[in-house]
């Protein structure tokens, strides 16, 4: 056992050397017209050796380290408690949501402009994560191309406004519906696929959409993107300094207050808040409806679900469609917030981040997913100095989570159903 451990540890240390030495220990420098290979300074070499030794030590004592880690206090003490009675839980949940909503409503008026903008982004990720939670967490369909639907929502608004002058409020349902339609279209070819195969096909789908947007220059402007996407209006009131469209009045003129660019940002934040809240409520309701339960049944055991009369086609397509619908929502808000979109905003990394949010939060758990969305979006902003290491920290956090809490921050809890005895 011990020798095997050491063998394994040596192997891991060797791999560490093998990977890091060529990357960090060798530099290419241009000398005139040619390239020259130079060794790095001794500090780097020492660092690489130290890293290898650390890997060796960790792997040798891995079992004892991990058991010690397992004994550490739980990150979230609540998550393992017994289920509480339904009435109490509902009350608590409602109280919690009311408190959150109230503070979220006050929030934009007490913090800086930048914070409000960031909060809007958080809310967009909340919507995305809630939607993906339907597909991955509830229906158990690993979707790596989710960003495609986000892109569809955003581009729908951008294109509609550019070519037809359509406003935000019409583009919002249009974007969501079109994204849902794309979800349906993706659903058909992947009906028979599960697990890894499904993941690969959805990944491909995400890339197809992005590449299409990138190359269909005549329509989408290609890599140059689309700019000048209008801000949302409030009953026809515009938030800009000057009116853009004939017949509208501006918000500050109407209320007779001086122009302030934060009005617009706060307004967008509030729209995102309301939409995120609607998504939350709608999905929560769906979860206790026949559709929601059949998603979970399909995830748990497809064969049993079919033997009880659930059609795989219907269940999978509804999960993809509804998940995509909320991504479309998020995309429209995103386009409006940025005012400019390009395919670069819809790379695979976005899908990966949203997926990470769902996994971190706890598959299927809405509150967990919301908390994780907040954490994953805000932490990198707080740690700006480390922005170069953002992905590194992210990866490390994921590994740690999988060791400590593979079920996520707040695993999904079952709803308690009261039954009356029947005669």
């Amino acid at each position: 056992m011990a020798t095997q451990n050491i063998k394994h540890a040596l192997f891991c240390a060797f791999i560490t050397l093998l990977i890091s030495f060529p990357i960090l220990g060798l530099n290419l420098e241009s000398a005139g017209t040619t390239l020259e290979l130079t060794g790095a300074d001794s500090a780097t070499i020492v660092a690489i050796l130290v890293a290898a030794i650390v890997v060796f030590l960790f792997q040798t004592f891995r079992d004892s380290i991990l058991t010690a880690a397992g004994k550490m206090p739980k990150l979230n003490r609540w998550s393992d408690r017994q289920p509480m009675p339904q009435e109490k839980r509902l009350k608590l949940e409602n109280l919690f949501m009311t408190l959150i909503m109230i503070s979220a409503l006050i929030w934009p008026f007490i913090v800086s402009r930048g914070s409000v903008d960031l909060s809007t982004l958080v809310l967009i990720y909340v919507m995305l994560a809630l939607g993906l939670n339907v597909v991955v967490g509830l229906a158990g369909l690993l979707d790596l191309g989710y960003v495609a639907f986000y892109a569809v929502g955003a581009y729908t608004f951008a294109l509609l406004s550019q070519y037809l002058g359509v406003s935000f409020w019409i583009a919002l349902p249009a974007g969501a519906l079109l994204a849902a339609l794309f979800g349906l279209a993706l659903g058909f070819p992947v009906l028979r696929l599960r697990g890894d195969y499904l993941a690969i096909v959805t990944l491909g789908f995400g890339e197809i959409i992005r590449i299409l947007l990138n190359n269909w220059t005549s329509l989408t402007g290609g890599p140059n993107g689309i700019g000048g996407i209008p801000d949302p209006t409030l009953f026809g009131m515009e938030f800009g300094r000057r009116i853009k469209e004939e017949g509208n009045i501006s918000f500050h003129d109407f209320f007779g207050i001086p122009y302030d660019s934060t009005h617009k940002i706060i307004f967008l934040y509030l729209i995102a808040l309301v939409l995120a809240f609607i998504s939350f409520l709608a999905i929560r309701r769906l979860m206790s409806m026949p559709v929601g339960r059949s998603w979970e049944a399909l995830r748990e055991d497809e064969i049993a679900a079919r033997s009880l009369g659930l059609s795989r086609t219907g269940v999978k397509l509804s999960a993809f469609t509804i998940g995509a619908f909320f991504a479309g929502f998020a995309g429209t808000v995103f386009a409006s917030k940025q005012g400019f979109i390009s395919p670069e905003s819809f790379v695979f990394l976005e899908s990966a981040i949203v997926l990470a949010i769902v996994v971190l939060g706890g598959m299927g758990s809405q509150v967990g997913v919301i908390l994780a969305a907040i954490a994953v979006t805000i932490l990198p902003e707080l740690a700006r100095e480390f922005s170069e290491y953002r992905m590194l920290i992210f990866g490390a956090a994921m590994v740690l989570m999988m060791v400590w809490r593979p079920q996520g921050l707040m695993p999904m809890r079952r709803v308690h159903i009261n039954l009356q005895k029947q005669e």
Binding site: P83, A282, R285, L286, M289, P290, V291, R293, S294, E296, A297, E300, D301, I303, A304, A305, R306, S307, L308, G309, L310, S311, R312, G314, R414, V415, H416, I417, L419, Q420, K421, Q422
Partner: protein, 251 residues
């Protein structure tokens, strides 16, 4: 009500089921027995639509159903359990029963989202039916446990209850007594008889427990290596030389 004629199922070079015939009348318990690997489960898989048989016909209430997708067959009232329990483990016991009724529910999204009275009424009905069957199989107390955490015998009963809430006409049970202790087997025995007597369903049963089979079956079909070996009442089967030989030969 169910008639299987010359059913054959070939997997590549293996003829797992060869010319098996079977018929089930209303309110009757028919057993299929045979040594391991005889092809019993494969017959079930063909009847429930998991496989499209390579030969023969299956008629359910006069309708040919071979090759019809599984979920459509179960909607016709032909529901099955599995040799290895297949519950929705992470869902609670009630939820398992609710899912089973969802094909009865109108899955209209809007009426559910705004909770129309009609929707509530139907939901209450399926809750009541779930409560009734949980009580019937003695699981009402455990209604809000996760199904995966139940004891094995309880899981078996839940699986049967989950079929019964769909109000089937024909129930197919694949080795329901496997892994049960003698007391549980006796209970199961009672339950299956009551399904026939009180709820007027027909049952097709695959079982290795001979005492159970002999006690509750109206008729028995024996298959050996995919081929029909004998069929008749329990008494006839008990004294059939071919059957005795096949079972002794296996032992």
């Amino acid at each position: 009500m169910l008639e299987v004629r010359n059913l054959s199922m070939r997997f590549g070079g293996l003829l797992a089921v060869d010319q098996v015939s079977l018929n089930v009348q209303e309110h009757e318990i028919v057993s299929i027995i045979g040594p391991n690997g005889a092809g019993k489960t494969t017959v079930f898989n063909c009847m429930s639509g998991f496989y499209a048989p390579t030969g023969g016909e299956i008629l359910f209430q006069g309708r040919e159903i071979q090759g019809t997708p599984d979920y459509k067959i179960s909607r016709l009232g032909l529901v099955r359990t599995f040799q290895h329990v297949r519950l929705f483990n992470k869902m609670t016991v009630v939820e398992n029963l609710l899912v089973a009724q969802h094909r009865h529910l109108n899955t209209n999204l809007l009426s559910g989202l705004i909770k129309t009275p009609n929707y509530r009424e139907r939901e209450q009905k399926s809750l009541d039916r779930a409560a009734y069957w949980l009580d019937r199989v003695g699981l009402l107390e455990l209604a809000n446990r996760e199904a995966g955490n139940l004891a094995y015998g309880q899981q078996r009963r839940l699986e049967i209850a989950r079929c019964m809430v769909t109000e089937p006409q024909l129930l197919m049970l694949d080795e329901p007594a496997a892994g049960l202790n003698p007391a549980e087997t006796r209970e199961l025995n009672q339950l299956i008889i009551s399904l026939k007597e009180d709820y007027r369903v027909s049952v097709v049963l695959i079982e290795h427990d001979m005492s159970l089979v002999m006690e509750i079956s109206d008729r028995i079909n024996v298959i050996n290596q995919g081929k029909p070996l004998a069929s008749g009442t329990p008494d006839e089967i008990r004294h059939n030389d071919d059957v005795i030989k096949a079972y002794l030969g296996e032992a």
